[in-house]
Symmetry: C2
Subunit: 327 residues, 2 copies
C-alpha cells in the first residue's frame, strides 16, 4: 500500500505537468495558480468516473479506466468547441488500488492527456472503499465563440459525428460470458474502452460560428437530443435511415442486437450532436479532421421528439439513454 506522498510523486512523474505554460503554481501547493490569456473565456467541467458505476475492476483494464476517465470529461469541452489546457485530478482509492492497478490507470491517463493537449495542474488524494476518479478540465475559447445547447432553431438540420452505438455494443459484448466472447475482436471493444473526444471537430465548428447548438452523445442520442431540444425550447424529427449505425459482423448479428436501438439509446459514444442552419449543410464536409459527419434530422417548432422510420411512419422517440437514477 502506497502512502499519499508516494501516490502524488508517482502521479507527477507519469502525467504531463504544465510548468511554464500558464501554470504558475502546479502540484504540491494548496491550490493551482493559472494565468488566463487575454481575449479568451475559460471553459470548465467536472466529471466523476466511479468503480461499479462507470467501470468494473474485473472487466476494465486499468489503462482503459485512466484513459476513459479523462476522455469522458474532455468530451464536454469538445461539445463547447473549446481547447483543453489543464486538468485537476481528484483521486479516492482503496488501499488495494494504490499499487500496480494505479500505475496502469496513470499509463492510460498520460496517453489521453498527451493526445488531448492537457497538462496536470493539481489535485487531491484520499482513501475510500471504492475507486473514484474525479476530474476537472479547464479549457479556453475565444470570447463568445462557445457553442451552447440552447441555440437550435426550427428548420435547423441535426448532424452527428462518427457512428452511434459502437460503445454500447462493446459494453454488451464485454458483459456477456461464455465461449462465444472469445471470438469478438478487440476492435469491437475499442470505442467502449478508448473513446475519442471530438476536439478538432468541435473547435472547427466553433471557429466557423455556424453551429447553432451542440452537445456530446454521452448518454445516448435519444437522451442527449432531448437535452439539446429542452435547452433550445424546440422539438426534433430524426430520420432512422440516416442515423449512422454500427455495422454488425455475422457472428455478432446472431446475438440479435438491433443496430438502430444501439444507435438511439446506447451511451458512451462521445460523438458530437449539433445543429446548423438549413443550407449550411452544403458547406459541411463529409468528414472533418477525419471524422465523418452525417445529417440525421431537423429541428421542429413543435416540442416533440419524433422518429421517422424507413417506411415514412412517425413515432415518438422517448429518451431511453443513460439516466443514473432510473429504477
Amino acid at each position: 500500500m502506497a502512502s499519499e506522498k508516494q501516490l502524488i510523486e508517482r502521479t507527477g512523474r507519469k502525467l504531463p505537468l504544465g510548468r511554464g505554460s500558464g501554470v504558475r503554481v502546479g502540484m504540491g501547493d494548496d491550490a493551482a495558480v493559472l494565468r488566463p490569456k487575454k481575449g479568451v473565456e475559460w471553459v470548465l467541467t467536472t466529471d466523476a468516473f466511479l468503480e461499479n458505476v462507470h467501470f468494473l475492476l474485473r472487466v476494465h483494464p486499468p489503462e482503459a479506466v485512466g484513459y476513459k476517465a479523462l476522455a469522458r470529461a474532455t468530451s464536454d469541452l469538445a461539445a463547447m468547441g473549446a481547447r483543453p489546457l489543464y486538468f485537476l485530478l481528484n483521486l479516492a482509492l482503496p488501499p488495494r488500488c494504490t499499487g500496480k492497478w494505479y500505475d496502469g490507470v496513470l499509463e492510460g491517463m498520460a496517453r489521453a492527456a498527451r493526445s488531448f493537449g492537457l497538462t496536470l495542474a493539481g489535485g487531491d488524494t484520499t482513501r475510500s472503499t471504492l475507486a473514484a476518479i474525479n476530474l476537472t478540465i479547464i479549457g479556453e475559447i475565444e470570447r463568445g465563440h462557445a457553442v451552447l445547447r440552447s441555440g437550435a432553431r426550427p428548420g435547423d438540420l441535426i448532424c452527428v459525428s462518427g457512428t452511434l452505438g459502437e460503445a454500447e455494443l462493446g459494453l454488451q459484448l464485454l458483459l456477456r460470458r461464455g465461449p462465444r466472447t472469445k471470438k469478438w475482436k478487440r476492435e469491437l471493444l475499442q470505442k467502449h474502452f478508448y473513446p475519442e473526444p471530438r476536439l478538432d471537430l468541435g473547435q472547427w465548428l466553433a471557429k466557423k460560428g455556424r453551429a447553432t447548438a451542440m452537445i456530446d452523445t454521452s448518454d445516448g442520442l435519444s437522451t442527449d437530443l432531448r437535452h439539446l431540444c429542452e435547452a433550445s425550447g424546440v422539438g426534433a424529427k430524426i430520420w432512422a435511415a440516416e442515423v449512422p449505425k454500427v455495422v454488425l459482423a455475422d457472428d455478432v448479428d446472431k446475438l440479435r442486437f438491433d443496430p438502430l436501438q444501439l444507435a438511439l439509446d446506447g451511451g458512451d459514444d462521445y460523438e458530437l450532436l449539433f445543429t446548423v442552419p438549413k443550407g449550411f449543410e452544403r458547406h459541411l464536409p463529409r468528414a472533418i479532421h477525419g471524422v465523418p459527419v452525417t445529417v440525421i434530422g431537423e429541428i421542429t417548432r413543435e416540442r416533440r421528439i419524433l422518429l421517422v422510420d424507413d417506411a415514412g411512419r412517425t413515432r415518438n422517440l422517448p429518451a431511453q439513454g443513460w439516466e443514473p437514477f432510473r429504477k
Copy 2:
C-alpha cells in the same frame, strides 16, 4: 427517489448562481464558460468529501455535511490568499440520499457559499453506493500575490490563526457514546461541524506581501508544518507553551484529553499556518479581522522539526496528523 433532472433543478434553486458576474454559461450546458478579469491569476483547487471517510450519515447532520464540504475546499484558497468566486459541484449519491438528506446538504452548502462569496457555475450528478461530494473551487488573486508553501526561510517566525485542536476534540466527543455525551454543549462540536476558512486573514496577508509561506491546518499542525517545511527546504522549532490550545471544561477534562496533543495532531481546524520575516511580528496585529494570530515558533536551517517543551527540552515532532493511507 429523485431523477437527475429533479436533483439538478433543486440544486439550482437552492444555491447562489453566478449569472451576470463573470459567468457567461452556468449550469445546464456541457461546461461552464467563465470570463477572467484583467490582471488577475486564477486559483483552483479540488476536494473530495466522502461518506464513511470524511463524514458519517448517522453522526453528521446533513447541513454540516454541505457546509463543511464547501468550507474545507475553500480553505485551500484562503491558504493562497485568494478571493473565492465560483464552484463546480460534482455529486455522487445513492438513491436514499437524494431526498430530504440532500435538501439539508443544500441548506448548509448555500449558507457556506453565501458566507464565502461563492456562486455555483456548474457540476455533474451521478448515482453511487456511498455519498460523495466533490468540489472544484475557482478564485482569483492579483498577479504574483499568491502565498505559496515554498517560501519559508531560516529565521522566519511561524504563526498560526485561531485555536488548534478544537475540531479534533469535537470529533472525539461525537464518536464517544454513553450517557456522558449528553452533557457536552453543542458549541464544542461547532468547529468540527462548521469550520471557518480564514479568507479575510489569508487575503490580508497576501495583500501585505510579507507572509513568506502559508498552508491551512487541514491535516493537523505536525503534518501541515512538515508539508510547509518540505516545500521550503527548511526545518522548524515549535514552542509548546505558545501553541494556542483548546481549553478543556471540567467535565471534558476528566476524559483525559491532552490539549497539546489535540493541538499538534488534530486535523480539520482549517486555521492558517504561515511564516513572516523576523521583525514583522511587530506589525502583526494580535487579531486580524477578528481572528487571533499567535507566533508559535521559528524556521530553522537544519531540516528537522522540533518541539520545545515547557521545561526547555527539545524533541522531534513527528508528523502524526491525518494521513489517508496510514494502516
